[in-house]
């Protein structure tokens, strides 16, 4: 593989990382909380898809169509039944509760699916590639992932920027107390945001499962990559997460090419470098949601 190829693969990997990062960024933007189980929910979605594809012999797209609403429903219930009860008690309770959920999900996956690595079998699409000439080829699936990431970001931006409900999101993100005084049901809004977040991260989890192997303990790494993409891109910038994801992806593929053990480490180091030089990220906005 040449250097150009390495960089192209890294850029495409950024599409997947943006899918992981979007939900995390949305939740932080609206509620100011970080869902530490974010990565574990994506792995849960990937395992659910594996069950549907392997046991029921469903097409992976059909499995995706079932897993996404299921995870969204789970997100809605999580917010309504658990996290909304912690509102107004500071940042400590939601962080500790989502951390507890992260450990519970990981160990429940370990008990249910053993410690073995799994992979989703999408029937050929994971290996098909498009030749770009000059010996350069990109996987169709990577292109689809990037396209889906762009579609999700566009959809989310239109939803937040153009709809009545989106305006309520922005108002609550800016000033929850005043928004509530204006009659906005913030608890319902938070539940919707968590449903959206887990729905999107379910897409990311299924795509991850097609792209590579995963195991019960793969969640925390996904959370860290998502977090790093958000910070590199700049807090509150939806499109920034795509750029952040691409930078992280390139750092990882270039690092792995230099030395096999250095892929993920290089990604982390680039993240720390950005943090040191430009702590507000590359595309930080004043407004948290845009």
């Amino acid at each position: 593989m040449g250097w150009l190829d390495t960089i192209v693969q890294g850029l495409l990997l950024g599409g997947l990382y943006a899918l992981f990062a979007t939900g995390l960024s949305l939740i932080f933007g609206v509620m100011r909380i970080v869902n530490l189980a974010h990565g574990d929910f994506s792995i849960l979605a990937a395992f659910l898809a594996v069950v549907l594809v392997d046991a029921l012999a469903l097409h992976w797209l059909l499995a995706l169509a079932l897993v996404v609403p299921l995870m969204a429903l789970l997100g809605y219930l999580l917010q309504r039944l658990v996290l909304n009860r912690l509102l107004g008690r500071g940042i400590l309770p939601p962080i500790l509760v989502t951390f507890g959920l992260s450990i519970i999900i990981q160990n429940a996956l370990l008990e249910t699916f053993s410690a073995d690595s799994r992979r989703l079998n999408p029937g050929g699409i994971d290996t098909a590639s498009l030749a770009l000439g000059g010996g350069l080829a990109v996987g169709w699936f990577s292109l689809i992932t990037l396209l889906v990431a762009v579609l999700v970001l566009t959809g989310l931006q239109l939803f937040i920027g153009r709809t009545r409900r989106g305006r309520a999101f922005r108002a609550t993100a800016d000033d929850q107390a005043t928004a509530a005084l204006m009659g906005i049901d913030d608890r319902g809004l938070y539940a919707l945001a968590m449903a959206l977040s887990l729905g999107i991260v379910a897409v990311a989890g299924v795509f991850l499962g097609i792209r590579t192997t995963f195991a019960f303990s793969s969640g925390p790494d996904r959370l860290l990559f998502a977090f790093e993409a958000v910070i590199i891109g700049g807090l509150g910038s939806l499109w920034g997460t795509l750029v952040g994801g691409a930078i992280l992806g390139v750092a990882q593929t270039v690092g792995a090419k230099l030395s096999p053990g250095w892929g993920i480490l290089t990604g982390h180091l680039v993240f720390l470098g950005v943090l040191l030089i430009r702590p507000q990220g590359l595309f930080a906005r004043q407004r948290r949601l845009d």
Binding site: L36, G100, L101, I103, N107, D221, G261, I264
Partner: protein, 336 residues
């Protein structure tokens, strides 16, 4: 104008009883090697290690509001510092324990420069990311045995009994130092400032508390305590690997102990550590279910009784074994 006679109370009945119990229990613990069996000694070292980790995390999160999910970094760094000091540099392995704490503290200083750029939830994930960086750096270093890790060889010439005895003594000394140290620290002027910062950063700043400096000192102290504990853990285990030493499970167990016992009190981690150990013994045959149950318990406590088990006890009976607050007692009869 009539004034009331008042006094500031800093001890409680329970604290005096607690001191008495401690004075009675300490000789029993010190002489345990003479009358106990090696298995219970090793178990006590494990218990003490978790207790000190919990006290350190409680100091960070419960008193300074620093929600670190990356304290496993200092467990791992302390453990590896022990191996390098004792095996490669020929330092006495037991003397290496406090030195490992100092090394962890020295690494914590530049780390703080990075992670202190984050607030709240992002501080939590940021510290986690930094812990992963340390794990991967160690796993990629040939001298540290890469992914397979290393074995502490410096203690091989020692008789097994000697090693276990000294390890136990060091662990006990660490636990006493941590508990007495944190208690004294919180009762001193610094502790007052620290609790003011926890309750309101803005208000404490206007009263002249240096918020950044206060938090930094706590972060460094916690790194020292956690690093020294990491060294004790691997003096006990002898075999270290990056995945085990930098495992998130150290922090997960620690957080569950503190949350279940009661965050922001000195008694809480003690109660939590006992609950943790009893549950672990009871559920030893059920594998991962143990962590699931603990996690569920911690989440339920956070939802229903955020003050934890000790908080419930303290509220019900007004007991404070380690009173760090000052209480104003106003006598009934007004003075002319």
């Amino acid at each position: 104008m009539a004034t009331h006679a008042y006094r500031v109370q800093r001890t409680t009945h329970a604290s005096r009883v607690g001191l008495g119990v401690a004075i009675l229990a300490l000789p029993a613990l010190i002489t345990l090697p003479a009358w106990g069996d090696p298995a219970s000694m090793r178990r006590l070292v494990e218990f003490i290690a978790l207790l000190v980790l919990a006290q350190m995390w409680n100091l960070l999160a419960g008193y300074a509001g620093l929600l670190s999910i990356g304290q496993q970094a200092y467990v791992g760094l302390g453990g590896y510092a022990l191996i390098v000091l004792a095996d490669d540099l020929g330092v006495d392995p037991f003397l290496s324990v406090p030195l490992a704490g100092l090394i962890a503290m020295a690494i914590a200083l530049p780390t703080a420069a990075l992670v202190f750029r984050f607030q709240g939830g992002y501080f939590a994930v940021g510290t986690w990311a930094v812990a992963e960086v340390f794990r991967l750096l160690v796993a990629n270093t040939g001298a540290l045995g890469r992914g397979t890790g290393r074995t502490l060889k410096a203690v091989f010439p020692l008789a097994r009994e000697t090693r276990e005895l000294v390890t136990y003594d060091i662990a006990l000394a660490l636990a006493v130092a941590a508990l007495v140290g944190i208690y004294a620290f919180l009762r001193a002027r610094f502790g007052l400032g620290l609790m003011a910062v926890r309750d309101s950063e803005a208000a404490s700043q206007t009263l002249g508390v240096d918020v950044f400096r206060t938090k930094l000192i706590v972060y460094l102290l916690a790194a020292f305590g956690t690093g020294a504990t990491g060294a004790v853990i691997y003096l006990n285990l002898l075999r270290i690997s990056p995945d085990a030493a930098f495992s998130i499970n150290w922090t997960a167990s620690t957080i569950f102990i503190v949350v279940i016992g009661g965050i922001g009190t000195l008694e809480g981690p003690l109660v939590g550590a006992v609950v943790f150990f009893v549950l672990r013994e009871l559920l030893a045959d059920y594998g991962a279910w143990y962590m699931i149950l603990l996690g569920a318990l911690a989440v339920s406590v956070m939802l229903a009784y955020p003050q934890g088990l000790w908080g419930l006890i303290a509220e019900r009976w007004d007991v404070h074994v380690f009173p760090v607050q000052r209480r104003l007692r106003i006598d009934d009869a007004p003075r002319p």
